[in-house]
Amino acid sequence: MSEAILQLRDVVKRFGGLTAVDAVSFTVQRGQIKALIGPNGAGKTTVFNCITGVLSIEDGEIRVNDQSATTLPSYRVAALGVARTFQHIELFGNMSVIENVMVGAHTRASSGLLSAALRLPKMLEQERGLRARARACLELVGLGELPPDTEAPSLAFGQQRLLEVARALAAEPALLLLDEPAAGLSSRESARLGELVQRIRDLGVTVLMVDHDMDLVMRISNEVVVLDHGVKIAEGTPHEVQRDATVIAAYLGEEV
Protein backbone atom coordinates (compact mmCIF):
# COMPACT_ATOMS: atom_id res chain seq x y z
CA MET A 1 0.00 0.00 0.00
CA SER A 2 2.99 2.32 0.02
CA GLU A 3 3.73 2.51 -3.68
CA ALA A 4 2.54 5.68 -5.43
CA ILE A 5 0.76 5.08 -8.71
CA LEU A 6 -0.15 8.71 -9.36
CA GLN A 7 1.62 11.82 -8.17
CA LEU A 8 0.51 15.40 -8.80
CA ARG A 9 2.95 18.11 -7.79
CA ASP A 10 1.91 21.79 -7.89
CA VAL A 11 -0.26 21.28 -10.96
CA VAL A 12 -1.56 24.53 -12.42
CA LYS A 13 -4.19 24.88 -15.14
CA ARG A 14 -5.45 28.27 -16.31
CA PHE A 15 -8.27 29.15 -18.69
CA GLY A 16 -7.48 32.73 -19.70
CA GLY A 17 -7.62 34.71 -16.44
CA LEU A 18 -9.22 31.90 -14.44
CA THR A 19 -6.97 29.54 -12.53
CA ALA A 20 -9.04 26.36 -12.62
CA VAL A 21 -6.42 24.24 -10.85
CA ASP A 22 -4.10 26.13 -8.53
CA ALA A 23 -0.92 24.35 -7.43
CA VAL A 24 -2.69 21.11 -6.53
CA SER A 25 -0.56 18.27 -5.17
CA PHE A 26 -1.64 14.84 -4.05
CA THR A 27 -0.62 11.22 -4.33
CA VAL A 28 -2.65 8.09 -5.01
CA GLN A 29 -1.24 4.91 -3.52
CA ARG A 30 -1.56 1.61 -5.31
CA GLY A 31 -4.59 -0.41 -4.22
CA GLN A 32 -6.58 2.53 -2.87
CA ILE A 33 -9.93 3.99 -3.63
CA LYS A 34 -9.33 7.70 -3.45
CA ALA A 35 -12.03 10.31 -3.92
CA LEU A 36 -11.75 13.83 -5.27
CA ILE A 37 -14.61 15.95 -3.99
CA GLY A 38 -15.58 19.60 -3.85
CA PRO A 39 -18.41 21.98 -4.68
CA ASN A 40 -19.42 22.59 -8.30
CA GLY A 41 -16.71 24.36 -10.26
CA ALA A 42 -13.98 23.27 -7.86
CA GLY A 43 -11.87 21.93 -10.73
CA LYS A 44 -12.32 18.19 -10.21
CA THR A 45 -13.01 17.28 -13.82
CA THR A 46 -10.26 19.66 -14.91
CA VAL A 47 -7.83 17.70 -12.73
CA PHE A 48 -8.98 14.49 -14.48
CA ASN A 49 -8.50 16.12 -17.87
CA CYS A 50 -4.99 17.22 -16.88
CA ILE A 51 -4.04 13.74 -15.65
CA THR A 52 -5.30 12.05 -18.82
CA GLY A 53 -3.65 14.57 -21.13
CA VAL A 54 -6.93 15.91 -22.49
CA LEU A 55 -5.71 19.31 -21.25
CA SER A 56 -2.09 20.40 -21.07
CA ILE A 57 -0.98 22.00 -17.82
CA GLU A 58 0.81 25.32 -17.32
CA ASP A 59 2.99 24.30 -14.43
CA GLY A 60 3.79 21.40 -12.13
CA GLU A 61 4.35 17.74 -12.70
CA ILE A 62 2.23 14.62 -13.15
CA ARG A 63 3.80 11.20 -12.70
CA VAL A 64 2.14 7.85 -13.42
CA ASN A 65 3.86 4.74 -12.15
CA ASP A 66 6.95 6.89 -11.56
CA GLN A 67 7.08 7.96 -15.22
CA SER A 68 6.47 11.55 -16.22
CA ALA A 69 3.06 12.01 -17.85
CA THR A 70 3.16 15.81 -17.70
CA THR A 71 3.38 16.48 -21.42
CA LEU A 72 2.13 13.19 -22.85
CA PRO A 73 -0.85 13.11 -25.23
CA SER A 74 -3.91 11.20 -24.02
CA TYR A 75 -3.29 8.01 -25.93
CA ARG A 76 0.16 7.67 -24.38
CA VAL A 77 -1.14 8.30 -20.87
CA ALA A 78 -3.58 5.47 -21.60
CA ALA A 79 -0.64 3.27 -22.57
CA LEU A 80 0.85 3.95 -19.11
CA GLY A 81 -2.17 2.20 -17.63
CA VAL A 82 -4.62 5.01 -16.96
CA ALA A 83 -8.25 4.57 -18.05
CA ARG A 84 -11.18 6.85 -17.37
CA THR A 85 -14.90 7.45 -17.68
CA PHE A 86 -16.57 10.76 -18.40
CA GLN A 87 -18.99 12.94 -16.48
CA HIS A 88 -20.92 13.57 -19.69
CA ILE A 89 -21.10 10.15 -21.27
CA GLU A 90 -18.71 9.77 -24.21
CA LEU A 91 -19.66 6.46 -25.76
CA PHE A 92 -19.06 5.61 -29.41
CA GLY A 93 -22.63 6.04 -30.59
CA ASN A 94 -21.88 4.56 -33.99
CA MET A 95 -20.83 1.21 -32.53
CA SER A 96 -22.29 -1.77 -30.73
CA VAL A 97 -21.93 -2.46 -27.03
CA ILE A 98 -19.21 -5.07 -27.46
CA GLU A 99 -17.30 -2.94 -29.97
CA ASN A 100 -17.30 -0.02 -27.54
CA VAL A 101 -15.61 -2.21 -24.97
CA MET A 102 -13.21 -3.65 -27.54
CA VAL A 103 -11.97 -0.14 -28.33
CA GLY A 104 -11.16 0.11 -24.64
CA ALA A 105 -8.75 -2.79 -25.11
CA HIS A 106 -7.07 -1.04 -28.03
CA THR A 107 -3.68 -0.87 -26.31
CA ARG A 108 -3.87 -4.59 -25.52
CA ALA A 109 -3.50 -5.63 -29.17
CA SER A 110 -1.32 -4.53 -32.03
CA SER A 111 -2.75 -5.69 -35.36
CA GLY A 112 -2.60 -3.05 -38.08
CA LEU A 113 -4.27 -2.11 -41.33
CA LEU A 114 -2.71 -4.77 -43.54
CA SER A 115 -3.40 -7.74 -41.29
CA ALA A 116 -6.95 -6.44 -40.84
CA ALA A 117 -7.57 -6.09 -44.59
CA LEU A 118 -6.26 -9.60 -45.26
CA ARG A 119 -7.68 -11.16 -42.06
CA LEU A 120 -4.38 -12.82 -41.23
CA PRO A 121 -4.57 -15.67 -38.69
CA LYS A 122 -2.66 -13.75 -36.04
CA MET A 123 -5.09 -10.88 -36.28
CA LEU A 124 -8.09 -13.20 -36.03
CA GLU A 125 -6.63 -14.75 -32.92
CA GLN A 126 -6.16 -11.30 -31.39
CA GLU A 127 -9.76 -10.46 -32.29
CA ARG A 128 -11.02 -13.52 -30.43
CA GLY A 129 -8.93 -12.50 -27.43
CA LEU A 130 -10.30 -8.95 -27.49
CA ARG A 131 -13.86 -10.18 -27.81
CA ALA A 132 -13.48 -12.56 -24.88
CA ARG A 133 -11.91 -9.83 -22.76
CA ALA A 134 -14.72 -7.44 -23.67
CA ARG A 135 -17.33 -10.04 -22.68
CA ALA A 136 -15.63 -10.55 -19.33
CA CYS A 137 -15.64 -6.81 -18.68
CA LEU A 138 -19.33 -6.53 -19.59
CA GLU A 139 -20.10 -9.34 -17.19
CA LEU A 140 -18.06 -7.74 -14.43
CA VAL A 141 -20.06 -4.51 -14.59
CA GLY A 142 -23.33 -6.42 -14.84
CA LEU A 143 -24.06 -5.93 -18.52
CA GLY A 144 -23.38 -9.56 -19.41
CA GLU A 145 -27.03 -10.17 -20.24
CA LEU A 146 -27.16 -7.55 -23.00
CA PRO A 147 -27.04 -8.81 -26.59
CA PRO A 148 -23.51 -7.76 -27.59
CA ASP A 149 -24.69 -6.28 -30.89
CA THR A 150 -27.01 -3.77 -29.20
CA GLU A 151 -26.26 -0.27 -30.41
CA ALA A 152 -24.72 1.73 -27.56
CA PRO A 153 -27.09 4.74 -27.75
CA SER A 154 -30.13 2.51 -27.22
CA LEU A 155 -29.04 1.64 -23.66
CA ALA A 156 -30.64 3.15 -20.59
CA PHE A 157 -28.67 5.93 -18.91
CA GLY A 158 -27.41 3.81 -16.03
CA GLN A 159 -26.33 1.09 -18.45
CA GLN A 160 -24.42 3.64 -20.50
CA ARG A 161 -22.49 4.65 -17.37
CA LEU A 162 -21.67 1.00 -16.70
CA LEU A 163 -20.66 0.51 -20.32
CA GLU A 164 -18.14 3.32 -19.91
CA VAL A 165 -16.74 1.53 -16.86
CA ALA A 166 -16.51 -1.72 -18.85
CA ARG A 167 -14.72 0.06 -21.67
CA ALA A 168 -12.22 1.56 -19.24
CA LEU A 169 -11.65 -1.82 -17.56
CA ALA A 170 -10.99 -3.52 -20.90
CA ALA A 171 -7.64 -1.72 -21.00
CA GLU A 172 -6.70 -3.62 -17.80
CA PRO A 173 -5.67 -0.30 -16.30
CA ALA A 174 -3.47 0.12 -13.25
CA LEU A 175 -5.38 3.29 -12.41
CA LEU A 176 -9.06 3.91 -13.14
CA LEU A 177 -10.45 7.45 -13.05
CA LEU A 178 -14.21 7.60 -12.56
CA ASP A 179 -15.78 11.01 -13.21
CA GLU A 180 -19.09 11.17 -11.33
CA PRO A 181 -20.04 7.54 -11.95
CA ALA A 182 -23.09 7.81 -9.69
CA ALA A 183 -24.50 11.00 -11.21
CA GLY A 184 -28.03 10.43 -12.39
CA LEU A 185 -28.30 6.97 -10.87
CA SER A 186 -31.05 5.89 -8.48
CA SER A 187 -29.99 5.19 -4.90
CA ARG A 188 -30.21 1.46 -5.56
CA GLU A 189 -28.07 1.73 -8.70
CA SER A 190 -25.69 3.93 -6.76
CA ALA A 191 -25.31 1.33 -3.99
CA ARG A 192 -24.60 -1.35 -6.59
CA LEU A 193 -22.04 0.94 -8.18
CA GLY A 194 -20.30 1.25 -4.81
CA GLU A 195 -19.99 -2.52 -4.62
CA LEU A 196 -18.68 -2.61 -8.18
CA VAL A 197 -16.00 -0.02 -7.44
CA GLN A 198 -14.88 -2.03 -4.43
CA ARG A 199 -14.78 -5.20 -6.50
CA ILE A 200 -12.67 -3.40 -9.09
CA ARG A 201 -10.28 -2.29 -6.36
CA ASP A 202 -10.09 -5.87 -5.08
CA LEU A 203 -9.06 -6.96 -8.58
CA GLY A 204 -5.97 -4.83 -8.16
CA VAL A 205 -7.08 -1.67 -9.97
CA THR A 206 -6.43 1.57 -8.13
CA VAL A 207 -9.41 3.93 -8.31
CA LEU A 208 -9.56 7.72 -8.24
CA MET A 209 -13.13 8.95 -8.36
CA VAL A 210 -15.01 12.22 -8.45
CA ASP A 211 -18.52 12.16 -7.10
CA HIS A 212 -21.14 14.25 -5.36
CA ASP A 213 -22.80 11.27 -3.66
CA MET A 214 -21.22 11.82 -0.22
CA ASP A 215 -22.78 8.66 1.17
CA LEU A 216 -21.04 6.60 -1.49
CA VAL A 217 -17.74 8.50 -1.31
CA MET A 218 -17.41 8.35 2.47
CA ARG A 219 -18.40 4.69 2.59
CA ILE A 220 -15.98 3.24 0.05
CA SER A 221 -13.00 5.63 -0.11
CA ASN A 222 -9.74 5.04 1.69
CA GLU A 223 -8.76 8.67 1.31
CA VAL A 224 -10.41 11.88 0.20
CA VAL A 225 -8.99 15.05 -1.39
CA VAL A 226 -11.15 18.17 -1.21
CA LEU A 227 -10.88 20.92 -3.81
CA ASP A 228 -12.46 24.34 -3.69
CA HIS A 229 -11.99 26.98 -6.42
CA GLY A 230 -9.07 25.00 -7.79
CA VAL A 231 -7.23 24.83 -4.48
CA LYS A 232 -6.76 21.73 -2.35
CA ILE A 233 -8.27 22.58 1.02
CA ALA A 234 -8.09 19.20 2.74
CA GLU A 235 -6.88 15.65 2.40
CA GLY A 236 -7.25 12.63 4.66
CA THR A 237 -9.47 9.74 5.59
CA PRO A 238 -13.22 10.22 5.14
CA HIS A 239 -13.49 10.55 8.92
CA GLU A 240 -10.91 13.34 9.09
CA VAL A 241 -12.27 15.25 6.11
CA GLN A 242 -15.84 15.23 7.40
CA ARG A 243 -14.71 17.00 10.54
CA ASP A 244 -12.52 19.55 8.80
CA ALA A 245 -13.76 23.08 9.43
CA THR A 246 -12.55 24.41 6.06
CA VAL A 247 -14.37 21.64 4.24
CA ILE A 248 -17.61 22.24 6.10
CA ALA A 249 -17.32 25.94 5.35
CA ALA A 250 -16.67 25.30 1.65
CA TYR A 251 -19.75 23.11 1.35
CA LEU A 252 -22.06 25.21 3.46
CA GLY A 253 -20.69 28.56 2.32
CA GLU A 254 -19.80 29.88 5.80
CA GLU A 255 -17.02 32.28 6.60
CA VAL A 256 -14.09 30.56 8.30
Partner: protein, 328 residues
Protein backbone atom coordinates in the same frame (compact mmCIF):
# COMPACT_ATOMS: atom_id res chain seq x y z
CA UNK B 1 -21.01 -5.04 -38.06
CA UNK B 2 -23.41 -7.85 -38.91
CA UNK B 3 -22.19 -11.39 -38.94
CA UNK B 4 -19.24 -12.53 -40.97
CA UNK B 5 -21.24 -15.20 -42.82
CA UNK B 6 -23.83 -12.62 -43.80
CA UNK B 7 -21.06 -10.43 -45.18
CA UNK B 8 -19.65 -13.22 -47.36
CA UNK B 9 -23.16 -13.94 -48.57
CA UNK B 10 -23.60 -10.32 -49.59
CA UNK B 11 -20.26 -10.28 -51.42
CA UNK B 12 -21.15 -13.56 -53.13
CA UNK B 13 -24.52 -12.16 -54.21
CA UNK B 14 -22.94 -9.03 -55.61
CA UNK B 15 -20.30 -11.14 -57.40
CA UNK B 16 -22.99 -13.22 -59.09
CA UNK B 17 -24.97 -10.13 -60.01
CA UNK B 18 -21.85 -8.48 -61.41
CA UNK B 19 -20.97 -11.57 -63.46
CA UNK B 20 -24.44 -11.84 -64.99
CA UNK B 21 -25.07 -8.13 -65.49
CA UNK B 22 -23.39 -7.67 -68.94
CA UNK B 23 -25.67 -10.35 -70.43
CA UNK B 24 -28.83 -8.50 -69.44
CA UNK B 25 -27.57 -5.07 -70.41
CA UNK B 26 -28.76 -3.85 -73.82
CA UNK B 27 -25.38 -3.11 -75.36
CA UNK B 28 -21.86 -1.80 -75.17
CA UNK B 29 -22.89 1.64 -74.01
CA UNK B 30 -24.74 0.20 -71.03
CA UNK B 31 -21.71 -1.91 -70.18
CA UNK B 32 -19.59 1.21 -70.46
CA UNK B 33 -21.88 2.94 -67.95
CA UNK B 34 -21.62 -0.04 -65.59
CA UNK B 35 -17.84 0.24 -65.81
CA UNK B 36 -17.97 3.95 -64.97
CA UNK B 37 -20.22 3.14 -62.00
CA UNK B 38 -17.70 0.52 -60.87
CA UNK B 39 -14.79 2.96 -61.08
CA UNK B 40 -16.78 5.54 -59.10
CA UNK B 41 -17.71 2.86 -56.57
CA UNK B 42 -14.03 2.29 -55.76
CA UNK B 43 -13.57 6.00 -55.02
CA UNK B 44 -16.79 6.11 -53.00
CA UNK B 45 -15.70 3.09 -50.93
CA UNK B 46 -12.60 5.04 -49.89
CA UNK B 47 -14.67 8.14 -49.23
CA UNK B 48 -17.08 6.05 -47.20
CA UNK B 49 -14.29 4.78 -44.97
CA UNK B 50 -13.02 8.33 -44.55
CA UNK B 51 -16.34 10.15 -44.08
CA UNK B 52 -18.90 7.56 -43.10
CA UNK B 53 -16.78 5.56 -40.69
CA UNK B 54 -13.97 7.86 -39.53
CA UNK B 55 -16.00 11.07 -39.77
CA UNK B 56 -13.43 13.10 -41.73
CA UNK B 57 -14.72 15.15 -44.65
CA UNK B 58 -12.98 15.42 -48.02
CA UNK B 59 -14.22 17.78 -50.71
CA UNK B 60 -11.13 17.19 -52.82
CA UNK B 61 -11.34 13.49 -53.59
CA UNK B 62 -11.52 14.01 -57.35
CA UNK B 63 -8.01 15.48 -57.15
CA UNK B 64 -6.66 12.10 -56.03
CA UNK B 65 -8.53 10.45 -58.89
CA UNK B 66 -6.89 12.98 -61.20
CA UNK B 67 -3.42 12.38 -59.78
CA UNK B 68 -3.84 8.63 -60.34
CA UNK B 69 -5.12 9.16 -63.88
CA UNK B 70 -2.36 11.61 -64.81
CA UNK B 71 0.37 9.43 -63.28
CA UNK B 72 -0.83 6.61 -65.52
CA UNK B 73 -1.20 8.87 -68.53
CA UNK B 74 2.17 10.57 -68.20
CA UNK B 75 4.17 7.45 -67.37
CA UNK B 76 2.74 5.42 -70.27
CA UNK B 77 2.72 8.08 -72.99
CA UNK B 78 5.85 10.07 -72.09
CA UNK B 79 8.06 7.56 -70.29
CA UNK B 80 6.84 4.45 -72.05
CA UNK B 81 6.23 2.52 -68.85
CA UNK B 82 3.97 -0.55 -69.02
CA UNK B 83 0.35 0.25 -68.05
CA UNK B 84 0.42 -2.11 -65.03
CA UNK B 85 3.51 -0.43 -63.62
CA UNK B 86 1.91 2.93 -64.32
CA UNK B 87 -1.18 1.78 -62.42
CA UNK B 88 0.96 0.75 -59.44
CA UNK B 89 2.78 4.08 -59.67
CA UNK B 90 -0.58 5.86 -59.72
CA UNK B 91 -1.51 4.24 -56.42
CA UNK B 92 1.92 5.00 -54.95
CA UNK B 93 1.90 8.65 -56.00
CA UNK B 94 -1.62 9.28 -54.69
CA UNK B 95 -0.78 7.54 -51.40
CA UNK B 96 2.33 9.68 -51.00
CA UNK B 97 0.34 12.81 -51.87
CA UNK B 98 -2.34 11.79 -49.39
CA UNK B 99 0.30 11.41 -46.71
CA UNK B 100 2.01 14.74 -47.41
CA UNK B 101 -1.26 16.65 -47.64
CA UNK B 102 -2.91 14.71 -44.82
CA UNK B 103 -0.36 15.51 -42.14
CA UNK B 104 -1.16 19.24 -42.04
CA UNK B 105 -4.79 19.08 -43.27
CA UNK B 106 -6.03 16.53 -40.74
CA UNK B 107 -5.17 18.89 -37.90
CA UNK B 108 -8.28 20.71 -39.09
CA UNK B 109 -11.74 19.63 -38.02
CA UNK B 110 -15.24 19.69 -39.46
CA UNK B 111 -15.92 22.60 -41.78
CA UNK B 112 -12.28 23.67 -41.70
CA UNK B 113 -11.15 20.27 -42.94
CA UNK B 114 -13.79 20.49 -45.67
CA UNK B 115 -12.38 23.87 -46.72
CA UNK B 116 -8.81 22.57 -46.59
CA UNK B 117 -9.52 19.58 -48.81
CA UNK B 118 -11.53 21.81 -51.12
CA UNK B 119 -8.49 24.06 -51.49
CA UNK B 120 -6.27 21.07 -52.14
CA UNK B 121 -8.60 19.91 -54.92
CA UNK B 122 -8.51 23.33 -56.54
CA UNK B 123 -4.73 23.54 -56.37
CA UNK B 124 -4.36 20.14 -58.04
CA UNK B 125 -6.79 21.17 -60.77
CA UNK B 126 -4.85 24.38 -61.41
CA UNK B 127 -1.59 22.42 -61.62
CA UNK B 128 -3.14 19.96 -64.10
CA UNK B 129 -4.39 22.82 -66.22
CA UNK B 130 -1.33 25.07 -66.07
CA UNK B 131 1.62 22.68 -66.18
CA UNK B 132 1.16 22.23 -69.90
CA UNK B 133 4.54 20.66 -70.58
CA UNK B 134 3.78 17.70 -68.38
CA UNK B 135 -0.01 17.42 -68.37
CA UNK B 136 -0.99 18.71 -71.79
CA UNK B 137 -2.82 21.65 -70.20
CA UNK B 138 -6.55 21.99 -70.86
CA UNK B 139 -6.28 19.57 -73.77
CA UNK B 140 -5.00 16.76 -71.57
CA UNK B 141 -3.39 13.50 -72.57
CA UNK B 142 -4.48 11.31 -75.48
CA UNK B 143 -3.74 7.78 -76.66
CA UNK B 144 -3.15 6.24 -73.25
CA UNK B 145 -2.49 2.53 -73.88
CA UNK B 146 -4.91 -0.06 -72.46
CA UNK B 147 -4.01 -2.57 -69.77
CA UNK B 148 -2.91 -5.92 -71.16
CA UNK B 149 -2.00 -9.42 -69.95
CA UNK B 150 0.39 -11.15 -72.35
CA UNK B 151 -1.16 -10.59 -75.76
CA UNK B 152 -4.64 -9.87 -74.37
CA UNK B 153 -5.62 -6.24 -74.15
CA UNK B 154 -8.46 -4.96 -71.95
CA UNK B 155 -9.73 -2.93 -74.87
CA UNK B 156 -13.31 -4.19 -75.29
CA UNK B 157 -16.00 -2.79 -72.98
CA UNK B 158 -16.78 -6.28 -71.71
CA UNK B 159 -13.23 -7.21 -70.72
CA UNK B 160 -12.69 -3.91 -68.96
CA UNK B 161 -16.02 -4.26 -67.22
CA UNK B 162 -14.89 -7.55 -65.66
CA UNK B 163 -11.57 -6.05 -64.62
CA UNK B 164 -13.39 -3.22 -62.84
CA UNK B 165 -16.00 -5.55 -61.34
CA UNK B 166 -13.21 -7.68 -59.88
CA UNK B 167 -11.54 -4.57 -58.47
CA UNK B 168 -14.79 -3.42 -56.87
CA UNK B 169 -15.40 -6.78 -55.20
CA UNK B 170 -11.84 -6.91 -53.94
CA UNK B 171 -12.05 -3.36 -52.56
CA UNK B 172 -15.39 -4.12 -50.90
CA UNK B 173 -14.02 -7.22 -49.20
CA UNK B 174 -10.94 -5.39 -47.96
CA UNK B 175 -13.02 -2.45 -46.73
CA UNK B 176 -15.47 -4.75 -44.92
CA UNK B 177 -12.55 -6.58 -43.31
CA UNK B 178 -10.94 -3.35 -42.16
CA UNK B 179 -14.14 -2.01 -40.62
CA UNK B 180 -14.56 -5.15 -38.54
CA UNK B 181 -11.10 -5.04 -36.95
CA UNK B 182 -9.06 -3.25 -34.32
CA UNK B 183 -8.03 -0.58 -36.85
CA UNK B 184 -11.59 -0.20 -38.10
CA UNK B 185 -12.98 0.16 -34.60
CA UNK B 186 -10.30 2.76 -33.83
CA UNK B 187 -11.34 4.71 -36.95
CA UNK B 188 -15.00 4.55 -36.01
CA UNK B 189 -14.16 5.53 -32.45
CA UNK B 190 -12.57 8.73 -33.80
CA UNK B 191 -15.96 9.51 -35.33
CA UNK B 192 -17.92 8.49 -32.22
CA UNK B 193 -15.94 10.48 -29.65
CA UNK B 194 -12.46 11.73 -30.31
CA UNK B 195 -11.70 12.36 -26.64
CA UNK B 196 -12.88 8.92 -25.56
CA UNK B 197 -10.90 7.32 -28.38
CA UNK B 198 -7.73 9.14 -27.26
CA UNK B 199 -8.17 8.25 -23.60
CA UNK B 200 -8.77 4.63 -24.65
CA UNK B 201 -5.27 4.66 -26.14
CA UNK B 202 -6.17 5.33 -29.77
CA UNK B 203 -3.65 7.60 -31.50
CA UNK B 204 -6.40 9.47 -33.35
CA UNK B 205 -4.04 11.50 -35.56
CA UNK B 206 -2.41 8.30 -36.80
CA UNK B 207 -5.68 6.58 -37.69
CA UNK B 208 -7.07 9.68 -39.37
CA UNK B 209 -3.96 9.79 -41.53
CA UNK B 210 -4.16 6.06 -42.29
CA UNK B 211 -7.73 6.23 -43.50
CA UNK B 212 -7.03 9.43 -45.44
CA UNK B 213 -4.09 7.80 -47.25
CA UNK B 214 -6.16 4.67 -47.85
CA UNK B 215 -8.98 6.69 -49.40
CA UNK B 216 -6.43 8.56 -51.54
CA UNK B 217 -4.89 5.26 -52.70
CA UNK B 218 -8.31 3.91 -53.71
CA UNK B 219 -9.10 7.14 -55.57
CA UNK B 220 -5.72 6.92 -57.31
CA UNK B 221 -6.34 3.31 -58.30
CA UNK B 222 -9.73 4.25 -59.72
CA UNK B 223 -8.14 7.18 -61.56
CA UNK B 224 -5.55 4.94 -63.19
CA UNK B 225 -8.26 2.48 -64.24
CA UNK B 226 -10.22 5.38 -65.68
CA UNK B 227 -7.22 6.61 -67.70
CA UNK B 228 -6.61 3.20 -69.27
CA UNK B 229 -10.32 2.77 -69.95
CA UNK B 230 -11.04 6.18 -71.46
CA UNK B 231 -7.54 6.40 -73.07
CA UNK B 232 -8.05 10.18 -72.98
CA UNK B 233 -7.99 12.40 -69.88
CA UNK B 234 -8.35 16.15 -69.31
CA UNK B 235 -8.48 18.31 -66.16
CA UNK B 236 -12.23 19.02 -66.38
CA UNK B 237 -13.00 15.45 -65.30
CA UNK B 238 -11.24 15.87 -61.95
CA UNK B 239 -12.53 19.22 -60.78
CA UNK B 240 -14.61 20.50 -57.89
CA UNK B 241 -17.84 19.38 -59.51
CA UNK B 242 -16.64 15.75 -59.57
CA UNK B 243 -15.51 15.95 -55.91
CA UNK B 244 -19.00 17.05 -54.96
CA UNK B 245 -20.58 14.28 -57.03
CA UNK B 246 -18.41 11.74 -55.23
CA UNK B 247 -19.55 13.04 -51.83
CA UNK B 248 -23.15 12.93 -53.06
CA UNK B 249 -22.65 9.29 -54.10
CA UNK B 250 -21.31 8.45 -50.63
CA UNK B 251 -24.16 10.21 -48.85
CA UNK B 252 -26.84 8.87 -51.17
CA UNK B 253 -25.67 5.28 -50.88
CA UNK B 254 -25.48 5.57 -47.10
CA UNK B 255 -22.60 7.11 -45.19
CA UNK B 256 -21.42 4.17 -43.13
CA UNK B 257 -22.27 1.38 -45.52
CA UNK B 258 -19.97 -0.64 -47.76
CA UNK B 259 -22.77 -1.99 -49.92
CA UNK B 260 -24.35 1.43 -50.24
CA UNK B 261 -21.35 2.66 -52.24
CA UNK B 262 -22.46 0.75 -55.35
CA UNK B 263 -25.99 2.09 -55.08
CA UNK B 264 -24.81 5.65 -54.50
CA UNK B 265 -22.38 5.55 -57.40
CA UNK B 266 -24.96 3.82 -59.59
CA UNK B 267 -27.81 6.18 -58.77
CA UNK B 268 -25.82 9.38 -59.27
CA UNK B 269 -24.21 8.16 -62.51
CA UNK B 270 -27.53 6.98 -63.95
CA UNK B 271 -29.52 10.00 -62.83
CA UNK B 272 -26.91 12.33 -64.35
CA UNK B 273 -26.96 10.23 -67.52
CA UNK B 274 -30.73 10.29 -67.88
CA UNK B 275 -30.99 14.00 -67.24
CA UNK B 276 -28.95 14.92 -70.27
CA UNK B 277 -32.15 15.69 -72.19
CA UNK B 278 -32.90 18.45 -69.67
CA UNK B 279 -29.68 20.15 -70.82
CA UNK B 280 -29.01 23.30 -68.78
CA UNK B 281 -31.79 22.43 -66.34
CA UNK B 282 -30.26 19.07 -65.56
CA UNK B 283 -28.42 20.39 -62.48
CA UNK B 284 -31.69 21.71 -61.05
CA UNK B 285 -33.54 18.46 -61.69
CA UNK B 286 -30.57 16.50 -60.32
CA UNK B 287 -30.68 18.56 -57.11
CA UNK B 288 -34.43 18.01 -56.85
CA UNK B 289 -34.10 14.25 -57.20
CA UNK B 290 -31.40 14.20 -54.51
CA UNK B 291 -33.55 16.21 -52.11
CA UNK B 292 -36.47 13.82 -52.63
CA UNK B 293 -34.32 10.76 -52.04
CA UNK B 294 -32.77 12.21 -48.89
CA UNK B 295 -36.19 13.15 -47.50
CA UNK B 296 -37.64 9.70 -48.00
CA UNK B 297 -34.52 7.59 -47.47
CA UNK B 298 -32.40 9.59 -45.02
CA UNK B 299 -30.19 6.59 -44.18
CA UNK B 300 -29.21 6.29 -47.83
CA UNK B 301 -30.33 4.00 -50.61
CA UNK B 302 -28.97 0.76 -49.18
CA UNK B 303 -30.40 0.88 -45.67
CA UNK B 304 -33.31 3.06 -46.70
CA UNK B 305 -34.54 0.53 -49.23
CA UNK B 306 -34.12 -2.18 -46.62
CA UNK B 307 -36.24 -0.19 -44.16
CA UNK B 308 -38.97 0.38 -46.71
CA UNK B 309 -39.06 -3.32 -47.65
CA UNK B 310 -39.26 -4.24 -43.97
CA UNK B 311 -42.18 -1.88 -43.48
CA UNK B 312 -43.99 -3.31 -46.51
CA UNK B 313 -43.32 -6.82 -45.21
CA UNK B 314 -44.86 -5.96 -41.85
CA UNK B 315 -47.88 -4.28 -43.45
CA UNK B 316 -48.47 -7.39 -45.50
CA UNK B 317 -48.07 -9.78 -42.58
CA UNK B 318 -49.79 -7.98 -39.75
CA UNK B 319 -53.35 -8.63 -41.03
CA UNK B 320 -52.45 -12.27 -41.55
CA UNK B 321 -51.23 -12.53 -37.97
CA UNK B 322 -54.39 -10.97 -36.49
CA UNK B 323 -56.53 -13.25 -38.62
CA UNK B 324 -54.85 -16.32 -37.19
CA UNK B 325 -55.58 -14.99 -33.72
CA UNK B 326 -59.27 -14.69 -34.62
CA UNK B 327 -59.27 -18.23 -35.93
CA UNK B 328 -58.23 -19.46 -32.50
Amino acid sequence: MGSRIQRYHTIGLIAVAAAVLPFVLPGDYAIHLATVIGINTIVVLGLNLLMGYAGQVSLGQAAFVGIGAYTSGILTTKVGLSPWLALAAGVAVTSATGFIVGVPLLKLRGHYLAMGTLGFGMIVNIVLTQWGGLTGGTIGIMSIPPLAIGGFQFRSELSFYYLVAFSVLLTMSLAANIIDSRVGRAMRAVHGSEVAAETSGVDTARYKLQVFVLSAALAGYAGSLYAHHATYIHPGTFGFHQSIQLVVMAVLGGMASIWGAVFGAGAVTLIAENLRSFQEFSTIVFGGVLVIIMIFLPAGLWRGTGDVLQRLWRLRHRPAASRSVEDV
